[in-house]
């Protein structure tokens, strides 16, 4: 408040602020600009009559945001320094950094984090490259685009549980369609989800099928932004379709590719659903993701404080990737 800054305490300020009320009924909103200090003006002065409605407009979002996002974030951070348990109320004993120390020295924590990273490594390149390839092909189709959009994008809107049920059936030993295809192609019968060495690849394949449509759509939009005359000019100069793809399309889509890659990495790091439903983290914890580790220690072992510490560590990993996203987004949207 500008007027409290000019005088000392709020109590003394009051009569001073009350003085103009005789002429200006809504004193808060119609404060003359002279009362404002330089510091606030520099950032954003605020126009008279904007403060109170702004508060009202912001209130519903900010209240829920503080209650369910910022509040829990701070609460979780505090909890990570305590031996909080799910079955006891209150924070429990102060534990200092021992939760963090335990997580960092825990094999299970690192192996689950590694599974998440391994999953990210397995899914990101195919999801980027295959979707780019499909978008390139689809761009040449004049008709029936709706069909490609349907085929590739429809799976993306389905719930993970539906996708998981269908793919468990496809992967079922002996009876599953994909198991039989593999046998027909001359492979020994694969145990898609039961073999610890194969399970993660099977989950990656499911994820490729499920989420490819999202990147496909981003690439199709990117392709439409490339000016037509570039292709026309190059074909007059005698460039064939392959040359056009390598010399025009790929470089022109650099920005889209960066966006697709970063969004894909963030999404893959948050993987939980596929593994939880399809393999329950098994066989022998070979596919337990970082989020499932948090879920297990927090809600099966009831070790809430420790789970909060693991969440914080996981958050730091995602944050590092998000920071990259922010830099990219900022370049495109200056105000972000």
């Amino acid at each position: 408040m500008a007027s409290t800054e000019t005088t000392g305490t709020a109590g003394i300020a009051r009569p001073e602020r009350a003085a103009p009320t005789t002429t200006q009924p809504t004193l808060d909103d119609t404060r003359p600009p002279a009362h404002r200090t330089a510091m606030t003006v520099e950032r954003d002065a605020g126009l008279p009559g904007h403060g109170r409605p702004a508060m009202l407009f912001l209130a519903p979002f900010v209240v829920l945001y503080v209650l369910f996002i910022i509040g829990p974030a701070i609460y979780g951070l505090v909890m990570s320094f305590f031996d909080t348990s799910l079955v006891k109320s209150g924070l429990g004993d102060f534990a200092g950094l021992s939760n963090y120390a335990e997580a960092i020295s825990s094999r299970d924590f690192w192996s689950s984090l590694w599974h998440t990273i391994w999953f990210t490594i397995l899914t990101t390149p195919p999801l980027v490259i295959v979707s780019f390839f499909f978008a390139l092909l689809a761009e040449r189709a004049r008709r029936a685009r709706w069909f490609f959009r349907l085929a590739f994008f429809l799976p993306y809107v389905l719930p993970s549980a539906v996708v998981a049920l269908i793919w468990i059936w496809l992967y079922t030993p002996v009876l599953g369609l994909f198991t039989r295809w593999a046998v027909k192609l001359g492979f020994t019968e694969p145990n898609w989800l039961g073999d610890p060495n194969l399970a993660m690849f099977s989950l990656a394949l499911t994820t490729l099928w499920w989420t490819l449509g999202f990147n496909f759509v981003l690439y199709l939009a990117g392709l439409q932004d490339i000016p037509r005359d570039l292709y026309e000019a190059s074909s007059i100069d005698g460039a064939g379709p392959w040359q056009q793809i390598w010399r025009i399309t790929v470089p022109m889509l650099r920005r889209t590719t960066m966006l697709v890659v970063v969004l894909q990495v963030i999404a893959s790091l948050k993987v939980f659903d596929q593994m939880y439903i399809m393999t329950q983290g098994g066989p022998n914890f070979a596919t337990r993701s970082a989020l499932q580790y948090i879920y297990d220690v927090g809600f099966t072992d009831f070790r809430t404080g420790y789970a909060a510490a693991a969440s914080t560590l996981f958050f730091l990993v995602v944050l590092a990737v998000s920071a990259v996203w922010l830099v990219l987004a900022r370049r495109q949207e200056p105000e972000l």
């Binding site: 126009l47 979002f61 369910f68 969440s311």
Partner: protein
Amino acid sequence: MTAIADKPAADRELSAEQARRYATSADRRLKLFNRTCIGVLIAFALLWLVPLAWAVDTSLKPNGETTNPTWKIMEPTLASYRTLLDQGDIINWYAASIITSTLSALGTVVTASLAAFALSRMRFRYRWLVFWFVLIGIMIPNQVLIVPQFRELAAVNLLNTYWAVILPQIPTAIAVFIFKQFFDGLPKDLDEAARIDGAGFWRIYSRVVMPLARPAVSAVAIFTFVWSWNALLWPLLVLTNPKLMTIPVGLATVQGTYGVRYADTMASAILGAIPLVLVFLLFQRRIVEGIAGTGLKG
């Protein structure tokens, strides 16, 4: 004179013929290339449809026939669907999903658009601070908040209620930015004209800006609806009563109990997919435009 004129004319005719031949061969090659591309893509698209087609196919067989994994159905039947609908669980799940997703989407659209309107149109103090405060939210993945959120909702006795699912899903920081971006792009003259006519901020918001922001509203509404519908981790934690479960939670929970009744399992998957297939078919264009325009990802 005719001799001189004749020769170049014949020359020209020849070169035109040649050019046409070149053009047609290049054209034909390009056409062939395009045809091949589309052929390859159609093959992939059909491959992409196999899992869904196989699920539908299986769901139409009697349970006993699923041990014979062929596409051909000996005795097509809707028995599996009837069994599931008779059991009734899935009806409850539909209700839960529709209620929670609709209210979440509505809550997000209303709260985020109001906040974005303030950030876009009002010059209040500490606007920059509010802006950055909201920005932090984009970087916090909901998944890292499950532990404290769960304790918070347990403390106020909201576990196993729809509110436990809806309330934490409403504040969506990214939605505020999508609205703000859209509002910033609307010409300010419109609301200035309205201001001169004596309209307050609420009137400008509800009568001028929101009607123009239909594309942003539908993008945010559709996306938050789909995210909410598909959410698994959070509803799985807070809804343990089978009557209150949403579709994904219900399907994930009963997944093991069908055993070898593969037709029933696939029928449940298809029933779980139908609402979203409808959403997709109805709003295909909007969804695709929304992704292309904002890079939204769940």
